[in-house]
Symmetry: C2
Subunit: 411 residues, 2 copies
């Protein structure tokens, strides 16, 4: 227990690394609006025009003056003279006066001097030039007025917003065809350990395949960064320092995936210290899996030392690396995406003083989600493969109980 | 009200289109495992090897025979002779016998004939060759046994599973470096309407920019498909039929984005019918926004006629097009991704007999999510831009109430 007290909490670890980079951002680049999905805009966009640009019907029917439909009913309809049709996609010179109407389509302009549109469903054609209206309309009914969607100078998107399909639509509607967005942060992934061989080779007895290069690369891509896998390096200081120093030239974040043994960690710490000031920010987090995590900063670049175990590495990368990638892009969106509420189907015992992350399998039973813990040693990657998401057992709790509502963070 | 009764429910519409394509899938292709993130595997993968491939220590310490530590305590430690070190990444010939121990690292092999590992924290070094053990270990303690993660023939991934970072790790761990995955479905997007001009041009009065080509393209990409924007076509039967016929050669799904007026819809229906049997599956859905939706099937390819209004088009595409794209890839994952529970901050009145989709803005207040409806005419795209997700008001309800828990489907 005593060792846990020396460790920093996951919340403090996140705050520490994020606070150390509040002033550090990646550069910007221009992209065409239709190609901006998922990118983070780096300036505020305001409308320079008006949307819609003309009074527009939202139904098929007839442009009318509302007062001419007053009191209309099935038994006592109002008769109007149809003086023409407003064609789609063209400016119209058609103007209606008292007692007149003009055929009008959804999305089309209103006839001049009309103030509302009667739906075709509430009209009957009497002859080529006459309709009867069986229901009154109010002024403005079935009309989207010019400027009702956006007015000039309305803020459309704040700086730091991540682009979704509708944002592409809104920007396109206003003729904003190019955007300033954050470059994708480049994340160097350096795998270290005498026992590692590449995932594509055949390990001899005692060797293991390096998984973290691939898993962390995938997670970086998922978070919107560019993974830069540097390679596997033996546990030799000079080799690792030179790999890290080179990576610092090109990349925005340096990730070490090191063994979890004390000597591996000491080596990572030595390399991080040699990269520049302030060097080490934190060493060890009160979390399971993921305790032997190292956080640092050098030359204004965040350094993250992940545990070598693939499960711990993924849990910590999700918790710390993803927010760092988003922060460097200046993403202002809160991270409540990808989480669902579910009922726990079994007790989860936990040791207090440490946050536990437990993988769960989700099942939809009649519209209600059940979360079943996937137990197993925390270093078995198949506990993650067999699960749909992960839940957090807070440090101040002795566990979670069957039937409790939990928040599941989806992978 | 009477018209609503003729419309199909959103659930029935989804079932109808999905049931019509249960036998239709896109082809497969091979990708390298590290590049398979987000792809859907098209066969089941079973392990051909064992993981870990050797008994592995999960801590730093000493390989021992558990019986030699029996009864050990701070006041009455057991003394063991250290006969060597098991190096990382190498097969060891070191064997321990009664009363002996061998230095062992996290992730490394155990010494021969050892059955457990004592953590370094529970030992003290007495001299160069002797340690004292202050806590007993049980047989198997701090060891991950060969095969404990995966055994030969264990199913790793089912056919239809979507690849996540941990899956890439697990497959790599087993030496599976290439996967059979579904090709990405190609989705033709055909925009129609006399009033439309391209999003990049300047509309004259009465014209509007075509947003749906861009927004639906983005949504298709998000869903894992390949958008194929075909262009904007005037409301002329021959033009539209020829565009659709050409698109059928290359694409797996044909999407029409047509105006919402009756004549537009009639034209889409005529084109869909001309493409082949069975032609039209449904016409009109009891949903707001999105009522004038058309569903069809021709030459084994799904046809979706989206409303021309950008908001309706996005809501319907999310509801119907996304599942169709996933189904063609044979994705078996249930769709409980990207939804959160939140408390509604205001009443939402609704008309019964029709499902309403209402955009909401989310706010995290002390760990609890509040969902505030973004009201506005359902054809204003800025209601989607200003919101974080959408909630469904069921057809059999007269609305939702302030304080109620709702499920928010995130964009």
């Amino acid at each position: 227990m005593s060792e846990l007290l020396k460790l920093i909490t996951p919340k403090d670890a996140t705050d520490l690394i994020l606070n150390s980079i509040t002033e550090i951002k990646v550069g910007t680049e221009k992209v065409k609006t239709p190609e901006s999905l998922g990118r983070v805009v780096r300036k505020s966009y305001r409308s320079e025009s008006i949307l819609p640009s003309f009074d527009k019907s939202s139904v098929d029917g007839f442009s009318v003056r509302a007062q001419d439909t007053f009191g209309a009913s099935d038994s006592l309809p109002q008769y109007l003279k149809v003086v023409g049709e407003v064609p789609m996609g063209q400016e119209t010179e058609l103007i209606i006066s008292e007692g007149q109407a003009a055929t009008t389509y959804t999305g089309g302009m209103l006839a001049g001097d009309a103030d509302s549109v009667v739906m075709i469903e509430y009209t009957n054609r009497i002859d080529a030039n006459t309709i009867e209206v069986t229901k009154p309309v109010a002024k403005g009914e079935n009309v989207v007025f010019a400027g009702e969607d956006v007015k000039p100078l309305d803020e459309i998107l704040s700086s730091g917003h991540t682009i979704r399909p509708q944002d592409i639509g809104a920007l396109s509607a206003l003729g904003i065809n190019e955007l300033d967005v954050s470059q994708k942060p480049k994340v160097a992934i350096i795998s270290t350990g005498d026992e590692l061989v590449s995932a594509e080779s055949d390990p001899k007895l005692g060797q293991i395949r390096d998984l973290n290069t691939h898993t962390i690369s995938a997670l970086v891509a998922q978070a919107g960064g560019i993974p830069c896998p540097i390679g596997i390096f033996k546990d030799e200081y000079e080799l690792q320092l030179s790999a890290a120093t080179n990576a610092m030239q090109d990349c925005d974040i340096i990730v070490f995936s090191a063994g979890s043994s004390v000597s591996n960690r000491d080596l990572t710490i030595k390399v991080f210290k040699a990269l520049g000031k302030p060097g080490i920010l934190a060493h060890g987090i009160a979390i399971k899996p993921g305790k032997p995590t190292i956080l640092g900063l050098a030359q204004n670049k965040p350094l993250i030392g992940l545990p070598g175990n693939p499960v711990s590495a993924l849990v910590v990368a999700d918790l710390l690396l993803k927010p760092v990638i988003r922060a460097l892009m200046d993403d202002i969106n809160p991270l409540f995406r990808n989480q669902v509420s579910a009922f726990l189907t079994a007790d989860i015992p936990s040791r207090s003083g440490r946050e536990d992350y437990v993988p769960v399998k989700l099942e939809d039973t009649a519209g209600v989600l059940d979360a079943t813990p996937v137990f197993g040693k925390s270093n078995l990657i198949f506990t993650l493969v067999k699960s749909d998401g992960i839940i957090r057992v807070p440090a101040d709790s002795a566990g979670l109980y069957k039937g409790q509502t939990v928040t599941v963070r989806m992978y």
